[in-house]
Amino acid sequence: DPEPQIQNEYLRVLFDPTTGHLCEIQNLVKGFSLPVFQSFYWYNASAGDPLNPQASGAYIFRPNTSTPFPVAKRVATRLLKSALVQELHQNFSAWCSQVLRLRPGQPYLELEWTVGPIPVSDGLGKEIISRFETPLRTAGRFYTDSNGRQVLERRRDYRPTWNLSQSEPVAGNYYPVNTRIFIKDQKVQLTVLTDRSQGGSSILDGSLELMVHRRLLNDDNRGVGEPLDEPGDDGRGLVVRGRHLVLLDTVAAAADQHRPRAQEMVTPPYVVLAPGPGPQLRQG
């Protein structure tokens, strides 16, 4: 397909025909679009170095370089379109895949990612991120929530309450994300909702990233006494599946969308099954 895309009445999402990556999101209701590239990367977890013996571990996130490695420069894709859902399946590697979905009536793009078991046979601990890159001029600013309530403005290499001399260009800019992280310019806001707490940041202007999984080989010497290396059900390493909802809207209208969506993300309807016609429930 020369121009792979999925669409519903709110959004059209375009993919790069050569690499298979997400490359643009169009808001069909408001009539604007934003180039958005998204992919998975891994930071090489520090094992300590001559300058600072601190390793990355359960307590500490410390990549040993500021530039993460792409999981794949090209992804194998499969496009499925039906009346109920349009989805693009991406296969980054044997341990990293994602499905991007648009459904009728849903004003957001759903990314269902599956990561793991993270390979460590090369002796390197890895910290996996999903990174979104856009041309938004964000001037080092991004926004993260606190327990789904207060949203705080974050500024790269800066603290509002003391003069920070940044010693960790990546980890020093990571913040807790409980439900949402967003970047914006004067007019447009890109918001990503999470289905669990993750670490997040904006290391480059116009970009935002969320850490989805980690597998480490060193203890960080803070007391736990073992590397963060969860074996998972079959002992080959933990496999994790989760969802990110991506909302693209004007700055003025963004909160009207992300607030209810975030609540639906953390308190979704609960599904119970019953044989046959099931109980005739009286509404309370």
Partner: protein, 171 residues
């Protein structure tokens, strides 16, 4: 009898900073998960009792905890069943229901008995080598009122045909 205090106790234990931030040793993390799972099971009995009371029925109710990896022995092996959706929010929601199934087409009806559009897509998103054996996944858009229930009835129309699974493109 169901009992929510088991989960309350497990969540109370998981207020420890280790549980919150994942800085505990592996066997401790496993124990936190075990306590939460026991609490979850006990709450499911409580929810089942409440639904039975509201529905005036003694029929068994089934919870599938692994729908995110498309595993649910009940829906994979039952030709006629119901999906009850409870919405805890103060506004109505529409919600995509995805259930692993063995048939290739189903009739879905809403609480008013009206037909609901549904489809069975091949190759459900299971984990590689994961459990579960259904070749397809039933998908329909459900909805539920604020702080309320909706019951959708599902009937299999055709037996499972061998799926011609789309192959991953080469490379």
């Amino acid at each position: 009898s169901g009992d929510s205090s088991v989960l309350r106790e497990a969540v109370a234990v998981a207020q420890h900073h280790d549980a919150v931030s994942g800085t505990e040793r592996q066997h401790v993390a496993n124990d936190y998960a075990r306590q939460l799972a026991k609490g979850w099971d006990s709450c499911q009995v409580l929810v089942a009792n409440a639904l039975s009371l509201l529905g005036g029925t003694k029929d068994p109710l089934v919870f599938c905890n692994a729908l995110n990896i498309s595993v649910c022995p009940f829906s994979e092996t039952t030709a006629h069943f119901s999906v009850i959706l409870y919405n805890p929010l103060a506004w109505g929601v529409t919600w995509p229901v995805r259930l692993p199934v063995s048939g290739t087409s189903y009739a879905v009806s809403d609480p008013q008995g009206q037909a609901v559009a549904s489809q069975v897509s091949p190759d459900p998103p299971r984990l590689r080598g994961g459990a579960g054996g259904a070749p397809g996944e039933l998908l329909f858009q459900a909805w539920a009122p604020p702080l309320g229930f909706s019951t959708f009835e599902v009937k299999q129309l055709s037996p499972g045909d061998p799926w011609e699974l789309p192959k991953w493109p080469s490379g």
